[in-house]
Amino acid sequence: MITLLLYNLVGVIVGLVMGAMPGLTVTMTAALVVSLTFGWPMVEALSFIIGAFCGGVLGGAISAITINIPGTAAAVATTFDGFPLKQRGEADTALGFALFSSLVGGLFGVLFFVILGPIIGKYALRFGAQEYFVLTVWGLTLVAVLSKGNFRRGLMSAVIGIFIGMIGMDPITGLMRFTMGAPIFSGGIHYVVAMIGLFGMKEVFVQLTTKKSGFRIDIEGYKISKLLPRFDLLRKLDLRWLISAPIGAIVGLLPGTGGDVGALVSYGFLKNVIKKPSRPFGEGAYEGVIAPEVANKAAVGGALTTMLTLGIPGDSVTAVILGAFYLHGLLPGPTFMLTEKSYFYLIAIFVVAGMIFSYFIGIIGSNAMIKMLNLPKWYLIAFIPVLCIVGSFALQNKLTDVLFMFIFGLIGYFFEKSNYPVSPMILGIILGPMVEINFRQALIITGSFQSLFISFFTRPICLILIILVAVSFLLQGKMKETKVI
């Protein structure tokens, strides 16, 4: 167990460093660490990946407070009051609160995950091909959120992802598809290679063409003693900030809404509920740092519940983590609680360890991370491609994978520059094969297109799922209208 915790610790450190650096997203970190763990035993790899995930989500808060640039999307709401606090000379207090509330939120998220996971898992066992199909379609509704206001292009990007996932052998008949007679395509394109290219290499191209040379860090460093929780201040706060934890966990549970949405919803909720905050919201209210940080960590537990028991990723990071679990032979989905129950609890332990390690490493290593923010751009632009190359080669020891990764980087860059969101493509690559297999199996079972269509509405669980899909899709639209997403 100690070895496993060590893997978790290293993952946390990697995640924290990468998450703290603007431009290096948690999704990119996850994609890179997944490829490194390819040859590792499954449990060690899971520990490392989950550690990197927990660390990455927390790392975003450091740059959010220090330089007003969220290292991750989940830390966007943290900037609203975190940076004003820093400007008031209370950077230590802000980061201390962010770290402590992350720990509280993270542990609540795990509790939520452990209680709710088995309940959902019990019902999920009754699923047939139709239900699986509707579930995977539910996962694809995430496109609406990831499209960032351009649904048509988001949908096209997701469909291209599905196409990429289809290259190679047909999973049911064994027929070769879209290989154009070239042997290098016959094995298909590994989704991790695509992920590294679309998130890692694309970011290199983006950084290469942006003029900004670096970030202005105007604080010397944090005093470690001041990063410890300030209970004297915490006692004076309205206890309603605790409501952020269930808000984050429930929002994280919904497919298509991750920690970023959870943080924004909880920030907006507390802003309305707490009439007398420590300072006005947006001007350095302590509650304004605590609420989003509690919520975005609690959302990790919610997102993992949906991902493990239903096989639906909550956001692009959990989509990558889902891919990582497949890579290591774990099959999240309705049968997970039946076949892999021990791994469910092991994952919960890894998340708890990851959250605790993140808290302490966040305190001890915050100054080192500020130094990392000072790394020159010319160094990062040369360094990240090497990580991408090592990561893509490590998967199958094939140079063609490095070439594919590079091509995906270019596709990602051109897509992003022309306002085509890239994240739906990854979603399509990962969920595409599942959508196809379940659709075709359901079609074969029912015998005709009409019967398949009718069966969606005559099977009770399927009907409930369709209603849930519609509700969550409408909810996403509503949240977008009210600028929550």
Partner: protein
Amino acid sequence: MNNNQENRIVYRVSSLLFVALVILIIYFDISRKYFQQGIQLFSVDSPLIFPFLVFLILLIGFIFELRTEIKKILKQYSHSGKQDTKNMTQTKELLDIIVFTVISMIYIYLLPKFHFIIATSLYMFCIMVVVNESDKFGYKLVKSLLATAVTIPIIYFIFYGIFTVILP
């Protein structure tokens, strides 16, 4: 996405061309299997049904995007007064991308010949020299050399030594 990015024709047209290429690949693959191999398209157990749905969605999306794009290009050409500065920025960006891509392709070609340490050292050094625009030439050569000399052994040690990752 800001207006500056919205106005970059080269990127938008390239993305549309890529979508068109995907549509063509799907079309030719389906039609080859349908006409030459006699595989049915609309039977319940057809392996072509799902790719056909993908093809349809992409085609519809492409037609709408093409329509929007043509309108945008026509509008842009009718108000082409301030295009020079934007075009210059776009050209500089594309040049950076091309230089980076060429160096990376040479690296991928050289990788099996020189193996990881030598090839990657050369690659990192070249990228740093090209990308670093803030220092004087001599100074950036020394900085790049030092950064490469420190980074590559660390990467090698961490990935090969600790994580036992097979390097190219």
